[in-house]
Symmetry: C2
Subunit: 259 residues, 2 copies
């Protein structure tokens, strides 16, 4: 059965897209078939997997606003077994365009249900969310079973965590009773930085098992890889970033099996 996982945090620049791309690649490298749905108008996941803007005539905007078939927009990435539903900048008006649709929080769910009925046999669908608790992110929360939360060990990033958890709880109470946070992953972690170390202690103390053992270190190779349209695991599979994402994939599978 296909598991649908949202990768979300309304704080900007915390590593959502980098986690979506590299976790997906690590899952594929151990035999899974994975689809990434790019739900961010910036389209970073689409670019990071080598889909040029010219090849995105049809995109997640068409699926969300015009009810196009998700199957018709899915592209192969450079990674065998990893597929992507690309995004364009049209998505920046999606919230406004959706308002008149009385099923505006369910459109992504319906399109994923239709996809899964058509024998698509993905093991995982990862949804790369935009940096906002917008209608688009709510659509991801309604469509998914679990949420993976990348968290930068910084003060501003910590501030938004309780709001994110409140929103997920509200969605569980109204639109999707099955949604759970499957884990919180510390990203861009620098153990020489006292603030990072202190925030890690705080987060583990308050949130315990919710926090992944695996921590993603700050590693420049992770930020270089997208400029070559490659996941870090193909760009430099021995770097600290790639090793961390492989570990993350193993822990991810363990957590998903328990839920």
């Amino acid at each position: 059965k296909t598991r649908v996982v949202s990768i979300a945090n309304q704080k900007g620049g915390v590593g959502k897209t980098t986690t979506a791309i590299n976790l997906a690649t690590a899952l594929v490298s151990i035999g899974n078939r994975v689809l990434i749905i790019d739900l961010d108008a910036q389209g970073n996941a689409s670019t990071g997997l080598g889909i040029p803007v010219e090849d995105r005539q049809l995109s997640t905007y068409d699926v969300i606003v015009d009810n196009s078939d998700l199957r018709s927009i899915i592209k192969n990435s450079l990674v065998d077994g990893l597929f992507i539903a690309p995004a364009t900048t049209d998505l920046s008006s999606a919230d406004v365009d959706l308002v008149s649709n009385d099923k505006r929080t369910m459109v992504l769910k319906h399109s994923i249900v239709k996809l899964l009925e058509s024998n698509s046999n993905y093991d995982y669908i990862l949804i790369d969310c935009p940096p906002a608790l917008s209608l688009l992110t709510i659509n991801a929360f309604v469509a998914c079973e679990t949420v993976l939360v990348p968290l930068q060990a910084e003060f501003f990033a910590l501030e938004g965590l309780s709001q994110l958890m409140t929103t997920i709880k509200e969605v569980r109470g109204t639109l999707n009773k099955n949604i759970w946070i499957q884990g919180i992953v510390l990203t861009m972690y620098d153990k020489r930085n006292n603030l990072s170390v202190q925030i890690e202690e705080d987060v583990r103390e308050h949130l315990g098992k919710l926090v992944y053992e695996t921590v993603i270190p700050r590693n420049v190779r992770l930020s270089e890889a997208p400029s070559f349209s490659l996941p870090a695991l193909l760009y430099d599979r021995k770097c600290a970033g790639s090793i961390a994402y492989k570990k993350l994939a193993a822990e991810f599978l363990e957590r998903e099996s328990k839920l």
Copy 2:
């Protein structure tokens, strides 16, 4: 005459809020009176200037959606001469709530015009924008005269720059013929990181004078300061970050005087 400046970039986590807070503080330290309008649902600028959530009964949401008087929400910050119009998480539904308002792109402009008519005598109003080219950011573009663009020297951050410039051009052609980009500021810059150095070269080659001479270095003191509700200039005025923001303020004044 009061100058209104948007601090904007739809890419998340590039230093918009850090630039709003520290640039404003540097401007105040040389005799200016400055208002920050927090237009981001995360409310990081409000928190970074010491306004607890309990003190934000009235916020920019009320001004944008219910036409409350901007004067009624403005609070003193811990910095003498620096004021803030705080934000709450209510703003995350602002785009949707504004759709039925036929002046939905002009609401912020109208509230700022009303404020300036009431003898508020601010030298500068800085608008801290959310990480999206949403209706809220369009409101900031309609209300301002210039845009300051913080740019992280990273591949994904560069990708969004042309989209941002296109959107500003579109606003100039329709809603606000006076809007100009007054400058692009490189943030979190690490000269030991080849990617950063290469991106700086590319950006200066393509955009020339639009790019500030001043570069903001990656400096952990800038990310520690908000946890003490202080701008870096009060937290550690001799750190590399504070020195850079003082230089930025001087160059900012030069650029503003030329426009």
